[in-house]
């Protein structure tokens, strides 16, 4: 029975890992297509010093795509999950901060340009909900959890 349960968790783990990976590959590709528009989106958040806007706009999409690919393929999974979780925390902070101060800006998450999706409570909740699989993938592989050398089923 235990191994049957473990098998189910393995499948769920795999499914969430691929789902999160695909989401990040897609989000990264959108930003890679138009780096100027993404730089404008980063600039509009009014959080980073101007000097960092373009470097972030250049590097961030590649991090999203490569980590997404690693999550899908299962290579360097936990390192990718850690980076993606850190990114999601930064996104949640940036969205929450700008919602709090009432800035009406585009999210720059999955669409770019002036007609892009605006930051709303929904975009904030969406990013928080993506953190759940992200943290799970980070702390618990099917066969081994981060805080222990044995897995839940005692192997």
């Amino acid at each position: 029975m235990k191994s049957e349960n473990a098998g189910r968790w393995d499948w769920l783990h795999l499914l969430l890992r691929i789902l999160l990976g695909v989401i990040f590959i897609y989000a990264g590709c959108i930003k890679l297509i138009d780096p100027g528009a993404f730089a404008q989106a980063v600039y509009n958040y009014k959080i980073l010093p101007l000097l960092m806007v373009n470097p972030v706009a250049v590097i961030l999409p590649w991090i999203e795509v490569i980590c997404g690919v690693f999550l899908v393929t299962g290579f360097l999974t936990r390192g990718s999950a850690l980076i993606i979780d850190c990114l999601l925390l930064i996104f949640v902070f940036a969205l929450g901060f700008n919602l709090y101060r009432g800035l009406d800006i585009s999210c720059g998450c999955f669409t770019l340009g002036s007609g892009g999706e605006k930051i709303t409570l929904f975009t904030l909740v969406r990013d928080i909900s993506l953190l759940i699989p992200g943290i799970w993938i980070l702390i618990c592989k099917p066969e081994k959890c981060l805080w222990t050398t044995t897995c839940d089923n005692g192997k």
Binding site: P35, V53, N54, I66, C67, L82, G102, S114
Partner: protein
């Protein structure tokens, strides 16, 4: 285990960052990494009908009396103080305010939008939206409200916004 996760993270970053920089340097539309004006200029250049206007030109236009000044800040900021004669069209409440604005402004009019702060994007955002709505002569005055006050130019408080009366 934690060590191995951190090791994986470092490996990924060591691969991705040089890859990103290399790809950016090779692509024709790559960003100038440390050109701090690049993000804003990117859109301004793409739309050559919207441009920043220097303060002295804005003052000239104001004195000629043919240009409509548009305060793009939140209504609270507008009510506290604004360029005398300016209409309030907040970027964040654009959809809500635009009908009232269109009833008072003609697309043939010359427009100067402004907000406050060197990095404030609201003036440009509203200028872009107005251009898309058919206003062909739209300018934005960077850090307009602060500079207007610094030069003791005509300003007003309160509002005559019909939007609030409706």
């Amino acid at each position: 285990m934690l060590k191995s996760v951190l090791k994986e993270t470092v490996i990924i970053l060591m691969v991705v960052i040089p890859l990103a920089l290399l790809a950016n340097s090779l692509r024709p539309d790559g960003l100038d990494l440390f050109n701090i004006k690049a993000p804003v200029l990117h859109l301004v250049e793409a739309n050559n009908s919207i441009s920043a206007i220097p303060l002295d030109r804005a003052i000239e236009k104001y004195r000629e009396g043919k240009t409509l000044f548009v305060d793009t800040r939140h209504p609270e900021g507008y009510l506290t103080g604004h360029i005398s004669g300016a209409l309030n069209l907040p970027d964040q409440l654009f959809d809500e305010y635009i009908d009232n604005f269109l009833s008072r402004a003609d697309p043939d009019m010359e427009i100067v939008t402004y907000c406050d702060g060197e990095d404030c994007p609201l003036g440009f955002n509203v200028a872009e939206k107005l251009y898309q709505l058919g206003f062909e002569r739209v300018f934005y005055l960077t850090n307009g409200w602060d500079r207007w006050q610094e030069n003791s130019l005509p300003s007003a408080t309160g509002g005559d916004q019909r939007h609030h009366e409706e």
